[in-house]
């Protein structure tokens, strides 16, 4: 399972790149990211609040081992702007996968 945090406006581009290399599905979550990219300050009638979190999109993609490197590369290429806050990619091992509709398991399920 590849988990990636990216800049929100890169979502469409990344999705297209992934489809292009054969990725068939993913889960996308709107998250608040915390990292080196600093948030902003909001002031409400004299009270100042530091908002430490930056909006990010979190992708979760499960692919066959064979495809994993290509996915990481595709994300890296399209999501990179070179500025702080471009995001991270983490790879985790998945023990098994299953498609609810058909009962297909593992690689067939993806």
């Amino acid at each position: 399972m590849i988990i990636a945090a990216i800049k929100p406006y890169k979502l469409d581009e990344v999705r297209e790149a992934l489809t292009a290399i054969g990725v068939q599905g993913m889960m996308v979550t709107e998250i608040k990211g915390f990292g080196m990219q600093s948030g902003h300050t909001e002031i409400y009638r004299g009270a100042e609040y530091a908002v430490n979190f930056v909006p990010k999109m979190r992708l979760e993609i499960v692919v066959t081992d064979a495809l994993a490197d290509a996915v990481v590369e595709a994300i890296t290429k399209t999501a990179r702007t070179g500025k702080i806050g471009d995001g991270k990619i983490f790879v985790l091992n998945v023990e098994s996968a299953l498609r609810v509709r058909t009962g297909d398991v593992d690689d067939d399920a993806l």
């Binding site: 409400y44 009638r45 609040y49």
Partner: protein
């Protein structure tokens, strides 16, 4: 005659028979017994104004305040504003109107002569500020009812997000009875203490805003700060709702201010244009201050300036000129801005939605400056025999009496409620939010 009576918005509240009784009062308009005229244009305007003041309250005030709290407390604000208004309306026709404008000649209250609106029919008439012109008493009752209904609703902003629902209702029932009705009588009834003194309060700066403002300050001090105050991010959950609410307040305020003229005439249009330009100037002023101080003008700032301007012009709108109104709006904002960004932070009390900082401070500045800008030399309508100094002094006295009366009695009522019902929910409930805990529902669902 108009000018002399122009001092007070709704001074002459009595139905015609009542007026006959008080005809010896020198300040009462001399009504030609033979032919008092009910002009349908006045009736149309007063009905419009009355509906507008309801609109100010719900949804106006409810949204202005509601947008400023966290989403978990949104419904508590909407409910408090709504039920307070409804409760006070019922109280008003039961005994509120009577003790305020019931015809009694005490300086402090109007007596029990009109309990349950007894004796009032569709043919009963109330005097206006122009001799010989009357309006139906029912519309005067309804118009004044909306004032009574919105005022306690203003207070709740000070202790939002932590107050017990039943406690708020009980507080407001007592508060209108022992604070609002007496002060309204004092200011607007021809026999009232402050009316006789000659205080100028065209549309209710003291009765509504200073009165609610000081009660709010006392309230938030008695109740204490919100859990997490100063540590957690308590940013407004919907600045959009706040903006909508503020705009509705402005719109409805034309009913509030201009309706206080009781007639649709030239004087009404003066009140209207003043309500426009003072507010516009105040909004600009707050945004400009923010722009200078931190490089960004916020929506909350603009909304705050808008309300501050509206509050400040309220007592003045019938007697100052448009240029005076602009000046007054700008000065009021200087005061309010300084207060909510500096003074409040210094003292670290939690007047959550700045009720005192906007309504109290803005109201006081407006009341005092009314004495200044009403002068003909400064564009106002007052003639040569008008002394700014003397009037300002009267205005200050009126403010002081209101602050003391409202402050002290409000304090007593808060304590009473706290000892019986309890003013505040427990910390866990506060964390969960009042919507679920007190009202059993959530404002928004996916």
């Amino acid at each position: 005659m108009l000018k002399k009576l122009g001092l007070s918005a709704a001074a002459i509240m009595a139905a015609l028979p009542a007026l006959a009784q008080t005809a010896t009062d020198a300040t009462a308009p001399v009504v030609e017994a033979a032919a008092p005229v009910m002009d349908k244009g006045d009736v149309a305007w007063m009905m419009t104004s009355t509906a507008l003041v309801l609109f100010m309250t719900i949804p106006g005030l409810a949204l202005f305040y509601g947008g400023l709290v966290r989403s978990k407390n949104m419904l508590s604000i909407l409910m408090q504003t709504t039920l307070i208004a409804c409760m006070v309306m019922v109280i008003w026709v039961l005994y509120g109107y009577s003790v305020t404008f019931g015809g009694g000649t005490s300086p402090y209250w109007g007596g029990f002569g009109k309990l349950f609106l007894s004796g009032v029919t569709a043919d009963s008439m109330s005097a206006t500020f122009s001799a010989g012109y009357v309006i139906p008493e029912y519309v005067f009752i309804a118009f004044q009812m909306t004032f009574a209904a919105i005022t306690p609703g203003l207070i709740i902003g000070a202790f939002a997000e932590r107050v017990k629902f039943t406690a708020v209702l009980a507080f407001c029932a007592l508060w209108v009875t022992f604070v609002y009705f007496p002060i309204a009588h004092m200011v607007w009834d021809a026999s009232g203490l402050l009316f006789v003194m000659g205080a100028i309060d065209f549309a209710g700066g003291t009765v509504v805003h200073i009165n609610a403002g000081i009660a709010a300050l006392v309230g938030c001090l008695v109740i204490g700060k919100r859990v997490g105050y100063g540590k957690e991010n308590m940013a407004p959950h919907s600045m959009v709702m706040t903006m909508i609410g503020a705009s509705m307040l402005w719109f409805g305020w034309f009913g509030f201010n201009v309706g206080s003229n009781l007639e649709a005439n030239g004087g009404a249009t003066l009140a209207m244009i003043n309500t426009f330009v003072a507010t516009a100037a105040a909004t600009l002023a707050w945004s400009l201050l923010e722009g200078i101080q931190r490089g960004k003008a916020s929506m909350l700032g603009a909304a705050s300036g808008m309300v501050a301007g509206l509050v400040a012009i309220t007592p003045a709108c019938g007697t100052v000129g448009p240029m005076g109104a602009i000046a007054l709006g700008v000065i009021a904002v200087l005061g309010c801005y300084f207060f909510v960004t500096v003074v409040k932070n210094k003292f670290q009390y939690d007047d959550s939605l700045d009720v005192f900082g906007i309504h109290g401070v803005g109201g006081i500045i407006g009341a005092v400056l009314t004495g200044v800008f009403s002068a003909g030399s400064l564009g106002g309508v007052k003639g040569d025999d008008y002394s700014i100094g003397a009037q300002v002094w009267i205005q200050i006295e009126a403010v002081a009496i209101t602050l003391v009366w409202s402050g002290v009695i409000s304090f007593i009522i808060y304590k009473l409620i706290d000892m019986t019902i309890g003013l505040r929910v427990d910390a866990d409930t506060e964390r969960q939010g009042l919507d679920l805990a007190s009202h059993g529902e959530a404002a928004y669902h996916g």
